[in-house]
Symmetry: C2
Subunit: 188 residues, 2 copies
């Protein structure tokens, strides 16, 4: 028996990321927690993020047209929640959370040092969809803490990072790997 729910954007789980963007006026980077983000193209490598025009960071992204997506570990849940509930118009979120800004390499602004993965991206297209703007951005570089690389040294170690995901109103952890892509083929 399936119950009908009034239409809402119901995809889950979604990532729980910390987006940093430079704030020219305040001469520092702001942090905003983003759950509506993902990968959208492999060549050119592109990611997307959706942000309401009413959010402080929306205007910053439109001005700079560059940002960093920082992937936190599950241990950073408190900082993730703070950056999703406090406005950067009123607070320096690096100061508020104790997180450490590190100058980004290919974009203006800062990485979050404590996040094991930092993705630098440049906005290519902005699409207003209604109450959210969709930013489509090209990945310029991916930076990973050496201690969080997997044995190939070419990709993050997902079990070690134990990243957060988001199901509406809930943070969940993702460090429990239960299978590899293609395992049903290799069995044959």
């Amino acid at each position: 028996m399936k119950e009908f729910l009034k239409p809402y954007p119901a995809v889950f789980p979604v990532p729980a990321l910390l987006l940093t963007v430079y704030d020219e006026e305040k001469k520092r980077s702001n942090i905003i927690t983003i759950a509506w983000a993902g990968n959208v193209c492999s060549e050119p490598p592109m990611v997307s993020v959706s942000v309401r025009p009413t959010r402080y960071s929306n205007q910053l992204i439109k001005k700079e047209m560059e940002f960093v997506l920082n992937i936190p570990t599950a241990e950073m849940i408190r900082e993730v929640d703070i950056c999703g509930t406090v406005s950067g118009n009123n607070a320096d979120k690096f100061e508020l959370t104790g997180l450490t800004p590190l100058a980004a390499q290919m974009v203006k602004g800062h990485w979050i040092k404590e996040c094991p993965v930092n993705i630098e991206a440049r906005v290519k297209q902005i699409i207003n969809l209604g109450v959210h703007d969709l930013f489509l951005a090209e990945v310029l570089g991916v930076f990973v803490d050496a201690e969080y690389l997997d044995s190939s040294k070419r990709r993050p170690d997902y079990e070690k990072i134990n990243a957060l995901a988001y199901c509406p109103e809930r943070y969940v952890v993702t460090g429990s790997v239960v299978g590899r892509y293609g395992f049903t083929i290799k069995e044959d």
Copy 2:
């Protein structure tokens, strides 16, 4: 010490969904596993999916302009992997996996009965980004198994569903809730 990795779409975790779309020629629905999907707008409620033009389902979506996003449980990992590695041009994936098609309510095509959540959507815009097409679609209805509703009866029970997420090449489970959105405010 951060290591530079060649740019790639590095966001994780991402969802592991089963997209169903009607195949007019074969008179059945096809299933494709999708990890590059997410929520993009709350009003109108919209979701996005990225699919390569070379995938069989890409052409089906362009023809029907409607699809269903079905959210599997972690127990369905085998079916999820099969639907991501076999082409619908050669196989009836419902037959191959033993999953059960149920006629959708507001779009042509079928839900996957075994998935606790079925999201019906209609494509509003298609953007070619390079080797992927981005489909932006409005949510028409969300259907949830009564037994998988939470105590509010208005949202899925995420712990009970224990959905899969995807970190490149790895399936992970997400049933372990570690916090609620806003918990750092409520503490004050």
